[in-house]
Amino acid sequence: MRIVCPFCGARDAQEFSYLGDASLQQRPDTPAGAPLDDAAHAAWHDYVYLRENPPGEHTEFWYHASGCRQWLKVTRHMRTHAISNVEAARPSSLRGAA
């Protein structure tokens, strides 16, 4: 499998490490230190353990460890592995690119 890094170009997947589902960026909003009620427990259980396994497109984080050391957001088809989109995970304003 190859991933077309927006910074480096097409590279073999072994240069990258997979982090996980890119749609799970929002942690459950529970006050620190407060006891968790049933709803909060359920929200945290979902966030930590439950993953979608869609038979179609999936957005996921990949880290270009052996290249530009940037986090990427990749859209990959779960049946064919075809990658339809790759973008930087961070907005360009935070990347400091000249």
Binding site: F7, S93, A97
Partner: protein, 210 residues
């Protein structure tokens, strides 16, 4: 008193090969020339948040070179600047040693974080008619001149070692930057891969200066 004098940059490959040596296949012209670039000082610079344009302007006045915004190398005189990541670059000084890194750190204060990388990487220059055949044994990046021309650089894995590969000249000449602690392993791969074409070991730079 602690000695605070700046130590010279030491060769990463000292003892592994001697300039003028011929290795591998002995008949005819050597297929590849391999030389370590010695006496080189290297600095990494990372733009401070929101100051990339100011940094670029400052570097332009210092060296007359732009900071490449894509994987490229630019060079003038004894200074070259190599893209490393978005907002990050390597500045390579072929003379003047670590003092140049100190001077750069002072000049870029407030605009960039500067780190001396002279002891982190070895620079190996490879050239000759069979150089692409050698690199093909460990490089996963397309090196065809139509896509990887002089000035192009790639941070990638070469024989499982993290390396920065740069095309210096269409001759072709390539430069490989590898972590010094992996040098012995990398050197073994390089020599084993190039043996069948014949290798002549060269020298670049002054190993005593740095």
């Amino acid at each position: 008193m602690v000695d605070v004098s700046i130590p010279p940059v030491v060769s990463a490959l000292a003892g592994l090969a001697t300039a003028g040596q011929r290795l591998g296949f002995k008949d005819g012209e050597a297929g590849v020339q391999i030389a370590e670039l010695t006496g080189v000082a290297i600095a990494s610079i990372a733009a401070r948040k929101g100051l990339a344009d100011d940094l670029s302007a400052k570097v332009q006045t210092l060296f007359g070179l732009p900071l490449p915004s894509e994987p490229k190398r630019v060079a003038a005189g004894d200074v070259s600047i190599i893209w490393s990541a978005p907002g990050q670059w390597l500045v390579v000084f072929e003379s003047g040693g670590r003092q140049r890194v100190s001077d750069l750190t002072a000049a870029l204060r407030g605009l960039a974080s500067t780190t001396d990388q002279s002891d982190s990487r070895a620079i190996i220059e490879i050239s000759g008619p069979r150089v692409r055949d050698v690199l093909a044994k460990g490089v996963m990046v397309d090196l065809h001149p139509s896509v990887f021309a002089p000035g192009n650089t790639a941070i990638t894995l070469v024989a499982h070692v993290g390396a920065q590969l740069t095309c210096i000249d269409a001759a072709p000449v390539y430069q490989l930057m590898v972590p010094r602690s992996f040098c012995l392993s990398f050197w073994d791969w390089l020599i084993s891969s190039a043996e069948e074409y014949g290798i002549s070991i060269g020298a670049k730079g002054d190993p005593k200066k740095g």
